[in-house]
Amino acid sequence: MSSTATSTHEPTAPRRPAHLTLTSPRRGLASDVRREIRVLLRWPQLTLAAAVVALPSAVGLLFVVPGYALIDELDLSSLLVGSAVPMAFPLLAAALAAPSMASELRHHFLASTRTRTPVRRYLLAKVVAGGLLGFVVFALAALVPIVVSFGVVPHMGLVQFHPDTVLLTAEQVVGTRPGRYTFSQVFAAGPSLGPWLYALLHAGWAGLNGALYTVLPMVLLVVLRSPLLALSAPLLGYHLGSFATALAGWDIFGPLTSVFPFTLAQQPMWTVLVPFTVLLTLTAVLLVSVLRSAPHRDVLS
């Protein structure tokens, strides 16, 4: 219907073969996003994603867990998240999609696409695809340790829990879950529903943050001229922000502890929203600025 309406308003022009059409009115953002996702799903990215999702649980179960006396599955899941993913979180997110975009910028591939698609839509499609990939990868990275801890380990008997180390019985330890970590407050919903609510909540939260940390270096690549700065700025801000907030006594608002709040006593749920809001505002302002000025930016021409 839209093509019919378009054709009635367009001046008569010689018809071209489909592969020579410069712009296709039927192709929309969703189509561009699907194409960009296919571009992103290469072996390096897939290998990295698989490592981020599977390695912490595998390495944790094999090498780390035997050295600890864990009290229950929640304790195990917080240990399986590990330290490598939380510490290198922005760099891992940047490595998912930003190198591909840096390569396109460097080789002026973006400039050649401007004859086929509007540059704003192209950039938006890349950012949406990168954000989706970041969301899925880091949601899975948070979900897998919880599923392993609550779904696989108890059935296979891989880990022996020792609730007696905190002078409690197994039933009493389960009762302490709602008050242990920030996100574990949802365990108040009950022992059967709580783990899955917790898994969904933490996976969704890690995915949202992963999406933002994936998108931010992509936007910075356009704003800053140096790929080194663009790729490292989120990592520097992440750790320097954590250090500065801890130094000021505001460690509950640290960027690291807001995504992986396992090193602090339980805080109100809203506290994790503060650094997230800062990051979201920064990314949104930069993205809108880049999209508005995209047709005139030298780096995109």
């Binding site: 190198p99 390569s103 250090f243 109100p268």
Partner: protein
């Protein structure tokens, strides 16, 4: 309808909206924290929380003011000036002073919006609370307990007028700061490096103020709460009227600054001319040094709980450079150590990124061979890495000596039983110095050598070491991230990886432990050195100086094979 649009039109409104929304969100978060703390405090005292207590505490919260309000005001000023500071605007106004006055007038709305957002955010946590209108101190009530504002209210002045005057005064202070920053940015705007330093300094200033508050170096009346008369009365020697005197002094300073800003402009211009003749200081290294100094000052206060009864000159080094050991280490100490050691590695990476950029062809031609040129680029950072532990140790020891001298304590080198510190029982000063200097230098060398090696390997694998290559950016960053993870307390405790072993905490085992770490670090450094030498010897000019393959082919054409 004009077809042209002034550059930047539309963006400022967007930036302003985003910043104001962020301000409201951050201040509201701070306000809810204040409310929670007050609820706990009042609950323990058995009283009732009232709205005024929360509102005034939110307005006076130094964290909210320092971390939220001042950076937002500085960011607005920088954004506003860079938008309007083009030559056409200056020519239209005739002089920089007139242009600045016009900028200042048009900033009033922004400052008003900022203060409105801040007040709104302070009001949000008061929802559902009763208001304490009389400002009278009452037993069990928070607001009148010690603030200057109720003291002035009891002397016959209207509390509402005083609170309003406080907000206006703070707005004036923000405006004055904005004028100052605008002046500096306008003057150094032509030099991007200096302009970036000024803006970075303005952003880092609030953190420095906070650290200084913790150290109690600056007087109490610099606290923003004092401007709002919400400082506890006992903290000011002159009582509430000394705060009023500060009001008057500040108002006079603001008026004088606005009235004679051309004097400031001339002075800054003269200083700028002098600064142009001085050698340029790399902003990254300066920022790194400032971060390390601020970190040392802050950690000195945070680690005060570690302070022994009879401190020695080693104690500051031990607390600041503790990093990790089975005996325990706070994440803050580990974070500082990571910034100090890995931050140096990151700066080396940026140096190599610039050195091996597209302009490297000319330098390479001048030096003759890639080996000599690369060796020259790498030697400096390696020497700096070896010297960094000495600088850190000297800085921390000086800081400890200054504090002990200020407190009138005798400068001790060892404790009564001969140990370097009460925190490290049995560790002699010699073993601690060896651990910090030798193992610290080796650790730093390992980090830098790993960064250099990865840069060279990336070059040898076929991609040019130019600044716009993502691979050369990502892999060295991954190496630094790996060191960051490996030096975390949970992993570095085992001392099986050459990461995080240069800290004072690893000296707890005495000389045997220190020598073991030396063996591990020395072996790693030797292996990395051999690898770097091999990588340098295998380098070819096309690896270093070609920004793209076409240039490489033009410089070194491949031999043409005949199909015959």
């Amino acid at each position: 309808m004009s077809g042209t649009q002034a550059p930047g039109v539309g963006r400022p409104a967007l930036v302003l909206t985003g910043l104001l929304l962020g301000t409201v969100a951050l201040s509201a978060g701070s306000g809810w924290t204040v409310r929670r703390d007050l609820e706990g405090l009042v609950g323990r005292q058995g009283g009732d929380l009232d709205g005024w207590a929360v509102f005034l505490s939110c307005l006076a919260d130094p964290y909210s003011t320092i971390f939220v309000l001042l950076p937002v005001a500085a960011g607005l000023a920088a954004e506003h000036v860079t938008r309007r500071g083009d030559h056409a605007e200056l020519i239209r106004h005739g002089s920089r002073a007139r242009w600045l006055a016009s900028t200042t007038r048009s900033s009033l709305g922004r400052i008003g919006a900022l203060v409105f957002a801040w007040t709104l955010a302070a009001l949000m946590p008061t929802a559902g609370l009763p208001w304490f209108a009389a400002f009278q101190p009452t037993a069990g009530q928070m607001p009148g307990s010690g603030y200057l504002l109720p003291h002035l209210a009891t002397s016959g002045l209207s509390p509402q007028a005083l609170a309003g005057a406080g907000v206006i005064l703070l707005s004036t202070a923000l405006l004055t700061g904005q004028v100052l920053l605008a002046t500096l940015v306008a003057l150094v705007g032509e030099h991007r490096q200096q302009g970036a330093l000024v803006v970075a300094g303005a952003m880092a200033g609030p953190v420095a103020i906070l650290v200084n508050f913790k150290l109690a170096v600056l007087p109490e009346w610099l606290d923003p709460a004092c401007l709002l008369l919400l400082t506890p009365a006992a903290h000011l020697p002159g009582g509430p009227w000394s705060a009023v005197a500060i009001w008057i002094l500040l108002a006079v300073c603001c008026w004088a600054l606005l009235r004679w800003q051309h004097v400031l402009l001339d002075t800054a211009a003269a200083l700028s001319r002098v600064a142009d003749r001085l050698p340029r200081v790399p902003s990254g290294w300066l920022t790194y040094a400032a971060a390390v100094v601020l970190g040392l000052l802050g950690l000195r206060t945070v680690a005060a709980s570690w302070q022994p009864a009879t401190p020695t000159l080693w104690d500051c080094s031990v607390t600041a450079l503790y990093t990790a050991s089975p005996e325990g280490a706070g994440p803050l100490l580990w974070a500082f150590s990571s910034i100090a050691t890995l931050g140096y590695g990151y700066l080396v990476l940026t140096h190599l990124d610039r050195a091996f950029g597209p302009q490297s062809l000319h330098a390479l031609l001048r030096h003759g061979t890639p080996r000599r040129w690369v060796a020259r680029q790498v030697t400096g950072p390696l020497l700096g890495a070896a010297a960094l532990p000495v600088v850190l140790l000297a800085a921390t020891t000086t800081l400890q000596a200054v504090q002990m001298a200020a407190a009138g304590q005798p400068l001790r080198l060892t404790t009564a039983d001969g140990a370097a510190s009460e925190l490290l029982p049995g560790v002699t000063p010699g073993a601690l110095a060896y651990q910090l200097l030798v193992n610290g230098a080796l650790q730093q060398l390992v980090v830098v050598l790993a960064v250099v090696l990865v840069c060279l390997l990336t070059a040898a694998s076929g991609s040019a070491l130019s600044s716009d290559t993502s691979r050369t950016s990502l892999w060295p960053l991954a190496v630094l991230a790996a060191f960051l993870v490996a030096s975390s307390p949970g992993i570095a405790d085992h001392a099986v990886l050459p990461a995080g072993l240069g800290g004072a905490g690893h000296a707890i085992g005495g000389w045997p432990a220190a020598m073991g770490h030396t063996a591990l670090l020395g072996g790693s450094a030797a292996g990395l050195t051999v690898a770097v030498v091999v990588a340098v010897r295998s380098l070819r000019p096309r690896h270093l100086c070609s920004p793209d393959r076409a240039t490489a082919t033009a410089l070194h054409p491949a031999p043409v094979r005949s199909s015959l």
